[in-house]
């Protein structure tokens, strides 16, 4: 065994999967990660982040190149490495039929943690994760955020020499996300533990000392967050929409001008964008239409987006959204209320998942449901789709009372669930045709709609491929196309952007804003708080109760002093929980 100062030392690592189409998963990775620091892996889906982490953990062998983890040749002696490291896979293997304590004990036994050390370690882990009260609960009955925290606790039953975390915060709400990071940072500070973490959240990467940007199996750039901000330096601006214009309308115009704008996102009622290199102020005049524009310092996300976009332009493949309708602007004061909810209640036994909730959604609105894991979002969602009957209250969707006319209401809605819910072994066209038929489209209508969907969602090139084998971005487009095949008035999207990289998320939201502009009503849940800025109105739920409702601006001002939606969200939840002063437990509704 050699001792080196490097945690990971990789030279020309190549990994190819048998039968995989396209290039290798890892295509010549050369990296050195020094000891004792927090390192982030970022990059789009399919960049090879998970594969690299698995190679570092000795779970796979590279096809060529050399890879040393903690100075050990990991391909030759995987067990030696595994005796020293802790690794939390994307889907951590908790035994759902074992209790919290039984899971902890199992991993402690496997790692050989002595009994006296164990008590102290468990106490620390349980208090860090706030789970001391739930040690007897089955892991399967925990909320998503708590499962992730337990997964981390099980990973850390002993002090490893290296901690590997593969997207630990996918599908986790901002509250649990903050707690997970607090735990990781505490360990880094107190134990000097080296951590390698892959993440889709740039604000998480910003907390790391070293950031590695990967794309297509290669390292695109690496450095400190500050260094990686540089590519976007002097090119970041904030544009304030004119009176009466929606931020997302301005954002749509900006992001559509691919030649001059690299990235644009709505933020705090304005639009933040990055200019492409060589862009003059007058190039943007026709887009800004007089909107006030200010320079702003660049962030890590800007730097990474710039790198990725410039790379994608070089390679000449971009996920360009068909935006022929971007000029269509619907009157947002459309008074027709498509969804009316009054005093909605849903109980499961003695547990109240949704308590007396009222709101309404107008035609063509983008309406966001936000809340921590277990807040009752999914339950509300299912009741709106007619998948779950309400315990009491009034619920009207597209003019139909869901108590008496569930079927006609369903014909007016489209639903994209959190998981990929299409037939994996049917082709793209077969899935579209099947769901169109299930919604009762006639033959000619069906044919026309399938053809339209293939074009509109850019699925034509893969129309005969099996859906289950499509890359992530295609799968998501297919799911949307399927939900829209019968031209519904209302589209429900349950966490559509969980685990999706920033580039694909921009394209996704551009599609949503186009749909809304055409008059489709959108109801969406998300854990990315900044995405709430695309919405006309949002609600924040916690423990089944509605805490805030209004435009993003109104909700932000409800939490005084919050700079962005993430802070506003955390503030509103905190206030509500303090005022209740009861032991809250996040049970998945």
């Amino acid at each position: 065994m050699t001792t080196t100062a490097l945690t990971v030392d990789a030279k020309d690592v190549v990994k190819r999967f048998k039968g995989a189409v396209g290039g290798p998963a890892l295509n010549g990775i050369t990296l050195s990660i020094p000891k004792g620091q927090l390192t982030a892996l970022v990059g789009p889906d399919g960049a090879g982040k998970t594969t690299l982490i698995r190679l570092i953990a000795g779970l796979m062998k590279p096809d060529s190149g050399s890879l040393y983890t903690l100075g050990i040749d990991v391909a030759a002696k995987p067990q030696e490495v595994q005796d020293l490291i802790s690794y939390m896979p994307q889907r951590f293997g908790l035994y759902e039929d074992l209790s919290v304590m039984e899971n902890l004990n199992l991993y402690a036994d496997l790692h050989g943690v002595p009994m006296d050390e164990r008590r102290e370690r468990f106490d620390r882990m349980l208090s860090m994760t706030d789970m001391a009260a739930f040690t007897n609960r089955l892991a399967g009955n925990l909320s998503g955020g708590m499962k992730q925290k337990l997964g981390l606790a099980c990973t850390l039953v002993r002090s490893p020499r290296l901690l590997l975390l593969d997207e630990p915060t996918v599908g986790v709400d901002p509250l649990s996300r903050r707690e997970l990071w607090r735990i990781v940072q505490q360990l880094v500070e107190e134990e000097g533990l080296p951590v390698i973490v892959s993440t889709a959240y740039m604000d998480e990467a910003e907390r790391c000392k070293h950031v590695i940007v990967m794309t297509e199996g290669q390292v695109l750039a690496q450095g400190t967050p500050d260094e990686l901000c540089r590519p976007a330096k002097g090119r970041c601006f904030v544009a304030y929409p004119r009176e009466g214009e929606l931020a997302r309308t301005l954002q749509a115009r900006l992001i559509d001008d691919k030649r001059h704008v690299l990235d644009a996102v709505p933020e705090s009622g304005a639009v933040r964008f990055i200019q492409a290199g060589g862009t003059e102020p007058r190039d943007l005049e026709g887009i800004l239409l007089g909107a006030r524009c200010e320079a702003t310092p660049s962030r890590l996300e800007d730097g990474v987006m710039t790198l990725l976009r410039e790379r994608a332009t070089q390679d000449g493949h971009e996920d360009a959204v068909e935006t022929k309708n971007s000029s269509v602007q619907l009157d947002t004061k459309d008074p027709i209320e498509l969804i009316k909810v009054r005093d909605l209640v849903r109980q499961f036994g003695s547990f109240t998942a949704v308590a007396s909730t009222s709101f309404s959604v107008r035609r063509g609105e983008i309406f966001g449901l936000l809340g921590p894991n277990g807040a009752g979002k999914t339950t509300t969602f299912r009741m709106l789709c007619g998948l779950l009957p309400a315990t009491s209250g009034f619920l009207e969707v597209a003019g139909f009372n869901l108590r008496t006319a569930r079927a006609p209401a369903r014909a007016r809605i489209g639903y994209v669930s959190q998981k990929f819910a299409l037939y994996g072994n049917l082709s793209v066209t077969e899935n579209l045709t099947f769901f169109g038929g299930a919604y009762g489209l006639g033959r000619q209508e069906l044919y026309a709609q399938v053809e339209r969907a293939l074009d509109e969602f850019q699925l034509r090139e893969k129309k005969d491929e099996r859906s289950g084998e499509l890359p992530g971005g295609f799968k998501q487009r297919l799911a949307m196309a399927t939900a829209l095949i019968h031209r519904p008035e209302i589209l429900f999207l349950d966490e559509p952007t969980s685990g999706i990289d920033p580039l694909a998320r921009r394209a996704f939201w551009r599609r949503i804003t186009t749909l809304a502009a055409e008059g489709t009503t959108i109801i969406v849940t998300t854990h990315f708080m900044e995405e709430a800025e695309y919405c006309d109105r949002i609600v924040i739920q916690d423990a089944g109760r509605l805490l805030a409702i209004g435009t993003p601006h109104e909700v932000r001002s409800q939490a005084s002093g919050a700079a962005n939606m993430n802070e506003a969200f955390l503030e509103i939840i905190k206030k509500a929980r303090e005022s209740r002063q009861t032991g809250f437990n996040a049970v998945e509704a």
Partner: protein, 386 residues
């Protein structure tokens, strides 16, 4: 392949025992908490015992048979009187063949016994014929029915010969055989040993086929791999609880066999127990191999049914005699572990210990176990590469 021995065999035995214990406790907990496992492990054996013991019997009872008396002579009536007295046949008298055929087509009777109009005349000449028509869709019932009817006729022949004071030809050996077996509820005796095989196959092959696949599906395998655990420990921890369940099923079967059905045990109990343990180990390792190769619970359970349960039911000699099948199928049967266990179990229950047979079959089972468990271990390498 640079895989070192250390991945399989731990250097430090105390660590080995500690990890094995932790994993085994985990498996037991999961087994107990998963109600579908308990249902297959305990309730299914009980259901099968009752079903096979009381419901399924290869004997027939009160089979409806139409009797066409075209000849009204006392001699003809006397012949069919022998049929009426048995438990096996419920006669229905009709006068024309057409009526009988209608009953047969409506499946209201399983067979027709026809006494032709010239029966007494022909009998007087020494060669009376009775026509028997059997519904052939159910081969087993048909064969039994033919046996009973000819036995009844033979019986009558014999009585007549005796009363006439003449020495008659000896009745057909096969008929005597059949009658002899039917003196007790013999098919239950014959079925119970086979039933034990079936239950052990279910527990060993079918239940375990899911357990490794489940770990892959739920992502727990990946988390387990990055611990000091060795693949042998994972496999052993899975074998131990299901071995216990299988032995529990065996005990249930033995109690039922002796207590409910009074099946005799001619051989020694310990030979039966060792045979059962050996077979259970083979079935467990086969289940684990399937599970490790499939990595998908649905696929694994389908494969397990096709290559363990169905062959054990159809080809092991449990239901169908292997002497009468084509050589191709005999070859398949000869590589099935279940074939040898059926042989051993029948020997223990019905025939008594036979040293040659024991040595041969035990050796075969041990070799099969060694091959399968090695296969399962090779398939459970600590890597995500396939």
């Amino acid at each position: 392949m640079m895989q070192t021995q250390s991945t399989w065999l731990p250097r430090n035995l105390s660590h080995f025992w500690r990890r094995l214990r932790a994993l085994t406790i985990k498996e037991f907990r999961q087994l107990i908490r998963d109600k579908s496992n308990l249902a297959i492990g305990i309730f299914l054996p009980i259901a099968l015992i009752l079903l096979f013991g009381y419901g399924l019997s290869l004997d027939i009872r009160n089979a409806p048979v139409a009797i066409v008396l075209e000849d009204g002579a006392p001699m003809a009536r006397d012949v069919v009187a022998g049929l009426r007295g048995s438990d096996y046949i419920a006669p229905r008298y009709v006068t024309t063949m057409a009526e009988a055929e209608a009953l047969m087509r409506g499946r209201q009777v399983d067979g027709i016994v026809r006494i032709p109009s010239d029966f007494s005349r022909q009998l007087a000449q020494g060669r009376g014929t009775v026509q028997l028509v059997v519904h052939g869709t159910d081969a087993a019932t048909a064969a039994s029915l033919r046996g009973y009817v000819s036995a009844a006729i033979d019986g009558w022949n014999k009585r007549r010969a005796d009363s006439a004071g003449r020495v008659s030809a000896a009745p057909g050996v096969e008929l005597v055989d059949r009658l002899w077996f039917n003196s007790a509820n013999s098919s239950t005796w014959y079925l119970v040993p086979g039933l034990i095989v079936l239950i052990m196959t279910l527990v060993g092959g079918f239940l375990t086929s899911m357990v490794i696949a489940r770990e892959w599906e739920r992502g727990t395998m990946e988390a387990l791999f990055v611990t000091p655990v060795r693949s042998l420990e994972i496999l052993l921890a899975k074998i131990i609880p299901y071995f216990a369940v299988g032995m529990g099923g065996l005990t249930l079967c033995l109690v039922a066999a002796r207590g409910l059905f009074h099946v005799p045990l001619h051989g020694s109990l310990w030979v039966l127990m060792v045979s059962s343990m050996l077979y259970l180990m083979v079935a467990l390792s086969l289940g684990l191999l399937i599970s490790a190769a499939a990595r998908n619970q649905f696929l694994a359970s389908q494969v397990a049914v096709i290559i363990t349960f169905l062959p054990a039911l159809m080809l092991s000699g449990f239901l169908f005699d292997l002497h009468n099948v084509p050589t191709g199928i005999q070859k398949v049967a000869s590589i099935l572990p279940a074939t040898y266990y059926v042989e051993l179990a029948r020997m223990s229950f019905l025939a008594g210990d036979n040293l040659n047979l024991i040595v041969r079959d035990w050796t075969i089972l041990i070799v099969q176990f060694a091959v399968l468990i090695t296969g399962a271990r090779l398939r459970t390498k600590k890597t995500l590469d396939r």
